[in-house]
Every structure is written in C-alpha cells, then in structure tokens.
C-alpha cells in the first residue's frame, strides 16, 4: 500500500437484516484501493453489490442495512468510525457523488441554483453572493450556456442529460478528491451517455479527482477506467487493469460478460449469455457464489468459496481454476 492511497477499503461487509432473521450479505468482504487522480471501475450485474459498496463508502446505507465489518480509509482516516455528524463534513466536500437517476435525484421543489448554492454555503462557508457567482461558474463549466437563467430553473424544466450535468456541478462544487459515480449514464440516451462521461473525465483531469465509476457497461469501462473490479454476489471476483481484463480475463464470470458483448471482429450468430440469474443476497449457493451458473464448475466449487488469489502481479481472481 503506497503512502498516497486516497481510498483504501479493507474487508468491507455490509449486511441487510431481513425479516425472519435472514441476513442478506450484500457486500461481503470487499478490498480495494483508489489512488489520487485515478479512475477505478466497479463492474457487475444488478444485485452484485456494487451500488451498496459505493453507498457504504458514503455511509448512506439505510436501515435495515448496516456496515458490519471492515475499514474505509479515506486519506488515512477511517470513515466507518466517524459519527453521522462528522460524515456530513466528508460528504459533498471530500467525496462527491452522482447517481443513476437524474430524473429523481434533484429535489423537484427547489431551483437548480438553490441546490448548488446550498452545497457551497454548507461546506465553503462563503456568502450568498459569492455562492451565486461560483454556482454560475460551475454551471458554465459543465456545459450550461445560459447558466444565469438555469440557476432560476427547476429540475423538471431540464432534460435528463442536463439534470445529470447539474448533478455533476453539485458533486464537484467543493473540489472533492473523490467522485463516486453510481451508474451515471444508465438512464440516459446513448448519445448523451458519451457527453456525460466525457464531461466527467474532463472534470476529473481539471480538478485531479479520483473517480470510482460504478457501471454494468463494459464499453464504458474500456473507455474511461484504468483499474477495474468485477463484483459478483457481494464479492470481488476479479481485479486488474483494464487492458488485462479485456485481453486476458481469468474468471469464468468475466469471460461470460465479455462474450456477451457484440464485437466487430468476431462473426457470431448469437451473442453469448450467462445462464441463470444473480442469486438474491440471502440465498447464495454454498461454496462459490457463481457455481450454479459457471460453465467450468467442479465438485469443490460447491463445497467452499475460493479465496481471492494473485495470479500475476496486479491481477487477482477468486476461482479454483487458478489455485
């Protein structure tokens, strides 16, 4: 672990306590690091635990969920041990976050300007006039040509892509060192997706932010991320650089995901698909959590869950094929 690691998540476990004493292990022992200025992608299907991982970092997991174990070291301080009140000075100021649904993520009864300014005033302790000026500047930065008018507009007056731009303006308003983007483009048109991702990338470079990009879109990963983690069943099953993931995928789940992508080079009748569904977090199979869907399943896969092992420097895989 180098000195300048920005975010160091160690053994994070976030459990949900369901009715009837059932426990959903939504995040079950996740370790990863993010360095300053780096884009790290967290990939997985719906229900793999990637969103809960990101919400855990912000400590925004609501009841009945709870961070059960682990450390989230941000700039050396453990967020897990902070009180709710202390967290309010980390959120928005040191870590910004944008969400999947721009249509519902902004408060419908306040103007865009109000929602940007409130963040600035809260964290930067500046005057209203100064916040107004800074908010207009931010809106221009994220691509609102008529920023002064946009300040007075309400979220419902903007399109989905524009709202996501406004969300980005809010998230970066206090120069956070880390931006968590939880499927920022899933709800948007394909043409708008690229604009939003390019904007995030531009902001990242401009402000030297690190980005934790949560997505299920491998195309987005290839384009924007440097490191990538593949999550399945609340655990990381493969962790490596983006080049490695695409050229040399190890885990059968990763291979399955890649085979399900259309490609210009290959001429196939039918795209690959991983059979079955992600199991619910309280009914994982015993043994490897992917065993029920894995084409290479062996007897021992059904007995015990494999450990995450290093197969080559900087490339970790959780699979018995590589032990």
């Amino acid at each position: 672990m180098t000195q300048n690691t920005l975010l160091d998540v160690k053994g994070l476990k976030t459990y949900f306590y369901l009715e009837g004493k059932k426990v959903a292990k939504a995040v079950d022992g996740v370790d990863f690091t993010v360095n300053p200025g780096e884009t790290v992608a967290l990939v997985g299907e719906s229900g793999s635990g990637k969103s809960i991982t990101s919400l855990s970092i912000m400590k925004l997991v609501g009841k009945p969920g709870k961070i059960e174990e682990g450390q989230i070291l941000f700039n050396g301080k453990d967020l897990v041990s902070l009180s709710d009140k202390q967290m309010t000075t980390v959120r928005g100021r040191e870590i910004g976050m944008i969400f999947q649904e721009p249509m519902t993520a902004l408060n419908p009864v306040f103007t865009i300007g109000n929602q940007i300014k409130e963040t600035l005033i809260r964290h930067k302790k500046i005057s209203k006039q100064e916040a107004e000026r800074k908010a207009i500047e931010l809106l221009k930065l994220v691509g609102f040509p008529r920023a002064e008018e946009t300040m007075k507009e309400y979220p419902h007056q903007l399109s989905g892509g524009m709202r996501q731009r406004a969300m980005i303006a809010i998230a970066i308003s206090c120069d956070p060192k880390l931006l968590i983007a939880d499927e920022p483009t899933t709800a948007l048109d394909v043409t708008i997706q690229a604009q939003i991702l390019d904007l995030m990338d531009e902001m990242k470079k401009k402000f030297n932010m690190a980005v934790l990009l949560i997505t299920h879109d491998l195309g987005v990963v290839a384009e924007y991320a440097e490191k990538v983690m593949v999550m399945y069943g609340g655990q990381i099953v493969e962790q490596t650089t983006v080049e490695n993931l695409f050229l040399n995928p190890k885990h059968p789940y990763t291979s399955g995901l890649l085979e399900s992508l259309p490609s210009l080079d290959k001429d196939v009748e039918r795209l690959g698909a991983i059979k079955g569904m992600v199991p619910a977090a309280h009914e994982f199979p015993s043994g490897c959590r992917f065993s029920d869907r894995c084409p290479h399943v062996m007897d021992k896969c059904r007995v015990a869950n494999p450990e995450l092992v290093t197969v080559e420097p900087g490339h970790n895989v959780r699979c018995y094929l590589y032990e």
């Binding site: 976050m97 519902t104 993520a105 419908p108 009864v109 419902h156 969300m167």
Partner: protein, 320 residues
C-alpha cells in the same frame, strides 16, 4: 401565476351557477311547504292558497329561480319564513362568526398536533411512541364525534370542571380580553371534538408522506451533498411532504366553514350547523337555500385555496 389565478377564478363563475341550479332544484323537489304540519287542517283552502300566492310559491319555477338568484347576487336572500321579520342574511351573519371561530380553532389544533407527531412517527418508525400515535390515530378515526363530545363534556366539564360545556360565552356583559379568553375556553371542547378525526387522519397522512419522501432519491442526494439532518428534514423533506397535505387542508377549510351539525348540536353551539338543522325541520326554504349555497361556495373556495397553495409549494404545477 397571475394569469392562472384569473383563469382559475373565472372557472368559479359557471360552477357557482351550476350550484345555484342544483340548490334550487333540490328544494323544489322536496315535498311539502313551509305550512306542512304547522297548519290547522280545518283552515280554509282559499286562505292557504292566498298565503302561498303571497310568498310567491305558486309562480312558475323559472320565475321563482330568477327572482331568487337575482336577489342572491345582491346579497339579499329574502326573509326567513319562520323567524318573522328577520332577513336570512341577518340570521346567517349572526351564526357565521361563531362557525368561523370554531373552524379556525379546529384547524389550528389539527395542524399543531398532527404535523409534528406525523413527522416524529416517520423519523422514528416502529418505536413505542410511533405505535402510540398509530393507536391514537385509529381510535380518533373510529370514535364518533357525538360520543367523544359527550365524553369530553362528562370528564373535562362536569367531573373536573375545567372547561364550559356549552354555548359561546358564559355570561353577558364581559368584554375585552376577558371576553376573548372566555370565548376561547368555550371553543376548546367543540374544536377538540370536531378536530379529532381530522387530527388523526392528518397525522397518518403526514407520517406516510414523510416516510415516503425520506426514502426518495433526492433525499439521498441531499445527504450525499453533506446536508445536516435538520436541513434534510426541514428543508428538503418537509416542503415535499406538505404538498398533498395542503391539498387536503383546502378541502378541510370548505368543510369546516360549513359548520359541524353534530358537534354543534352536542355543545349547543350557535353556529351555522344548528341553524341549518332547525331550518330543515321548519322547511324554512330561504334559509336552507342560502346555507346550501354557502356550503357549496366554501367547498369551491377551499378548492381554489388548495390550488393556489399547491402551485406555490410545487413549482411543477405553475400553469403559465
């Protein structure tokens, strides 16, 4: 906004017109006349017909209607057929201030009690206090007005002697601040009774609205921006949670101003409700029609108020 208001008020006019037609038609359709059951059966038919003629009850229906509407526009609802020599407007005015006082007091109690409890319940769901509030909510909704009223009179007035049990003032001749306090004391029991069901249901509405809003995406965004819990609750949540409550309160204004027949009866409270019931018993047509018209008018007015408030708190509903 101004345009919307003007348009909204213009819609008022045809609705009022429809209201007068309905009120008038209902009265015409009702059997009997002011002399039913009051008249000596042996009286001469000719005398009876002369009386009807004098009151204009034998004129063609459209003439009667036009006469009534024409006068009503001028604020003249005619004379009461029963209270000799008193105009309808006079009778209503005398009762109306009492009804307004009762309505305001009831609304205040409803809002002051239900909204904070609703918020508390939503912030601490499934705690003993929340369960207590829920129990109170169901009891309040299930208890009939007259029963709660009698219970309140028995316990708070007769047994404990804390509050007066009926009327609006205890003795003639008091004035100034003393009169004000006396009136308030007389209002407490009736407004508690009248507001019971409303308080219970607004509490439940508030709880579910706040719970709903607290789980929404924009509240998560507000938290992710580092807003303090107080800002999240009192700025981001409350404004959104109040939108549907305000609509309901608009209707409530209409209902409360129309008077509360049963509650007023229990407390012998001289409001519009008791006047209404007596007039129906007496077949005092001009009074019944005037009160009916007023009730309808207040419901329309309540709706208008709800729409105006609605468009103030929710920017998505500004039609311009």
């Amino acid at each position: 906004m101004i345009q919307y208001l003007i348009r909204r008020i213009l819609v008022f006019i045809p609705m009022l017109f429809a209201l007068t037609v309905i009120v008038f038609a209902l009265m015409q359709a009702a059997p009997g006349d002011p002399f039913s059951q009051k008249m000596d059966p042996n009286i001469d038919r000719a005398v009876y017909e002369k009386q009807r003629e004098a009151l204009g009850l034998n004129d063609p229906i459209h003439e009667q209607y036009l006469r009534w509407v024409g006068n009503a526009i001028k604020g003249d609802f005619g004379d009461s057929l029963i209270y000799k020599g008193r105009t309808v407007a006079d009778l209503i005015a005398e009762r109306f201030s009492n009804t307004i006082n009762l309505g305001i007091m009831t609304l205040l109690i409803t809002i002051i009690v239900s909204i904070p409890i609703g918020i508390y319940s939503a912030r601490h769901p499934y705690t003993p206090l929340d369960y207590g509030a829920t129990t109170f909510g169901f009891l309040g909704l299930a208890t009939p007005n007259f029963f709660f009223g009698l219970l309140a009179i028995y316990v708070l007035s007769i047994q404990l002697g804390w509050l007066p049990s009926h009327g609006t003032v205890s003795k003639p001749g008091i004035e100034g601040f003393e009169l004000f306090i006396d009136k308030i004391r007389h209002l407490i029991l009736p407004s508690l009774t009248l507001g019971l069901a409303g308080t219970a249901s607004y509490m439940r509405y508030m709880r579910s609205e706040v719970l709903d809003v607290l789980g929404s995406d924009y509240i998560r965004t507000a938290r992710a921006k580092g807003m303090t819990e107080n800002t999240v609750l009192y700025k981001h949540t409350l404004r959104n949670a109040l939108i549907p409550i305000i609509t309901l309160l608009g209707f409530e204004v209409g209902i409360l101003l129309g008077g509360a027949v049963i509650t007023e009866g229990v407390f012998q409270f001289p409001g519009l409700g008791t006047l209404f019931i007596t007039s129906i018993g007496n077949r005092d047509y001009p009074v019944i029609m005037a009160i009916n018209l007023m009730l309808g008018f207040f419901v329309l007015l309540g709706n208008l108020l709800a729409d105006i408030f609605y468009s103030i708190v929710d920017p998505r509903i500004r039609y311009d």
